[in-house]
């Protein structure tokens, strides 16, 4: 696609999304909002994946961001929007600490530590009832913008666009080339003078901060946080399935996956209230075995082969 055409397309899609509240109902708007939250999570997850490191900690940072945003809002009385950013910062700092501790030993060690994160954060939250409300969670006096669906949608759209811009900047920066070389051959990357550890920690912190911001926005939109709801497996499993289905290591793969699977998720939730997550497990397994590059990767490969 020519660059000019591409910009026209972006402008068109952006205009469509920004004006979406004016010609859709509240239900469709909330579905679109959910999809955009998952889109931000899928993109941020994929950004770390591009370095060859696998984090299962999405739900953990999502929940921590939500809790931090709610606590900062209620205790410090800050503007809700600032508290959402602060929630992201808290998640980022947590990731910085954990990353510094465990990213020296990568691969399965890192993956399993992050797999435990959601559960560990949940245990901590449950055991500090004075601060976090314990198992019951915390309820905000009112949802953000007093629950106005248009402003709420714009907020979530802003979060998703932030993730999108971060991912695109990322694809064109030094960090991206450093990370790709780490994924392809770590020894080679190391010997060409790349500080592998530093880059990995930075990217882990940044992507976790994005997940924290998404969590903070989600918490403010829904007006409550709870150990079961905020750290729910949904927030790890769905984004992963979306990114894999769409195509790893690209910006547009996770976006496409999030839109397609997000729409499918709405139907599934109504059809199978319990156990609809089964479908995402199946999608992950099939994607890994049959088309590890996802839809976007497989199609672009076919196009190049022609």
């Amino acid at each position: 696609m020519k660059t000019r055409n591409r910009w026209i397309l972006y402008a068109f899609v952006t205009a469509l999304l920004v004006t979406l509240p004016y010609y859709t109902g509240t239900y469709l708007l909330s579905v679109a909002g959910t999809i955009l939250i998952y889109l931000a999570l899928a993109l941020s997850w994929d950004m770390l994946l591009r370095s060859g490191q696998l984090s299962f900690g999405i739900a953990g940072f999502f929940g921590i961001g939500g809790y931090a945003a709610v606590l900062i809002f209620t205790n410090a009385g800050l503007n809700p929007l600032i508290s959402i950013l602060a929630g992201g910062a808290v998640a980022g700092v947590f990731a910085l600490i954990i990353g510094t501790a465990v990213l020296q030993l990568r691969g399965m060690y890192f993956a399993i530590v992050t797999l435990a994160l959601a559960e560990i954060f949940r245990v901590i939250i449950r055991n500090l009832p004075d601060l976090t409300g314990g198992p019951e969670g915390l309820v905000l006096p009112a949802a953000i913008f007093s629950g106005d669906s248009t402003s709420t949608f714009w907020l979530i759209l802003a979060v998703a666009v932030t993730a999108l811009i971060a991912s695109e900047i990322f694809q064109k920066s030094r960090v991206f080339f450093a990370l790709t070389s780490i994924r392809n051959d770590e020894v080679l990357a190391r010997s060409s003078g790349i500080n592998v550890f530093k880059y990995l920690v930075i990217v882990f912190a940044v992507t976790s901060a994005i997940q924290g911001i998404a969590g903070g926005a989600y918490a403010h939109v829904h007006g409550f946080v709870s150990p079961e709801g905020s750290f729910s497996l949904d927030f790890a499993l769905l984004p992963m399935a979306m990114a894999l289905f769409g195509g790893m290591h690209t910006t547009w793969g996770p976006v496409l996956g999030a839109v397609l699977l997000g729409i499918a998720a709405e139907f599934l939730k109504l059809q199978i209230p319990y156990g609809h997550l089964l479908v995402y497990g199946v999608i992950i397994v099939i994607a890994i075995i049959l088309f590890p590059k996802g839809i976007v990767g497989t199609i672009s490969q076919k196009l190049q082969a022609r």
Partner: protein, 309 residues
């Protein structure tokens, strides 16, 4: 290197023995309960270590296979009145078949793939099994009531449950059996060779693919059978297995790859410290965080060691 390694293990054994004696004087209940708890951990971790050491795959669905084994034993108990200990045998056979199917349909295809794909695949498998259980049995916890599980004994004024010593015995049998299998049978020796160097093993005429298939299925069969005795004392629900996968990996990481005996030693540290924290009034909720602290500590120590080398 090997000598050094042995020495380190003995240091650990000695240190834990001293701690154990101290604990026995202070809180005997914690020690007994901790040993029983750690046997369960060791028992579940051993088949996972087998797969990781020989097939080279972290099976994140390991705990889920145990959970399904527990459900199978529950079902056999409720519908046919079968005792969980008898149910171990049908569970073993059923899960050997399930292991073969899982290997042939999924695991086989990622053996040569990047580690990341392998982890994602087994994670996907774990989700499938977990949600399948959720669909069939819902998230309602289930429990069988067996008379003999509440057996107890007393030493002086101190009384404790004796049934869980079954776990200690089972863990010892499993460890002994696996070591015998690996060292003294043709298949076990072949499996060890494959674990050390698949290409070399292939060169000397070992059927590597077949070995992978057998070891993976054996691991699943074992953990399915363990599920049957797991449910004698624990309630079962779809999410019950996840924590055991993580704790198993924690033990394997602490012991080092391929060190089955080490798993038994380190499971004591995990089990006893968990039951110690559980016994502290007001702090019991923090017990679930210990394995995370241990695994993080191990990773920090290991990466430190690697930098020095």
């Amino acid at each position: 290197m090997k000598e050094l390694f042995k020495q380190r293990i003995w240091q650990w054994v000695l240190a834990s023995l001293i701690l154990a004696v101290a604990l026995a004087c202070w809180k005997p209940y914690v020690l007994v309960e901790g040993i029983q708890r750690s046997s369960l951990y060791a028992m579940i971790a051993l088949p996972m270590a087998l797969v990781l050491g020989i097939v080279g795959i972290v099976n994140l669905a390991h705990g889920e296979f145990m959970m399904l084994g527990a459900y199978l034993a529950y079902w056999l108990n409720v519908h046919f009145g079968m005792d969980p200990f008898a149910a171990m045998f049908p569970a073993f056979i059923a899960f050997a078949v399930i292991g073969v199917i899982s290997y042939l349909t999924t695991i086989k295809y990622v053996l040569g793939a990047p580690e990341l794909n392998q982890l994602l695949l087994t994670f996907g498998l774990a989700m499938i099994l977990q949600q399948l259980a959720n669909l069939v049995w819902t998230s309602q916890p289930l429990k069988v009531h067996l008379g003999y599980v509440s057996a107890s004994a007393a030493i002086g004024s101190f009384s404790f449950g004796t049934f869980e010593f079954v776990y200690v015995a089972a863990a010892a049998i499993l460890l002994g059996g696996l070591l015998l299998f690996l060292k003294h049978t043709r298949l076990g020796q072949a499996a060890l060779a494959v674990g050390q160097n698949p290409r070399g093993a292939k060169l000397v005429g070992i059927n590597v693919d077949q070995t992978y298939l057998i070891i993976f299925s054996l691991s699943i069969a074992l953990v399915g059978a363990i599920g049957a005795i797991f449910m004698t004392r624990h309630s079962i629900f779809p999410l019950v297995g996840g924590a055991y996968t993580l704790k198993s990996f924690c033990l394997i990481a602490m012991a080092g790859m391929g060190n089955l005996a080490g798993i038994a030693v380190f499971s004591l540290i995990l089990g006893v410290s968990e039951s110690l924290v559980l016994s502290l009034r007001g702090y019991a909720g923090w017990a679930d965080i210990i394995f995370f602290a241990l695994i993080t500590g191990v990773i920090i120590v290991k990466s430190h060691q690697r930098q020095i080398r």
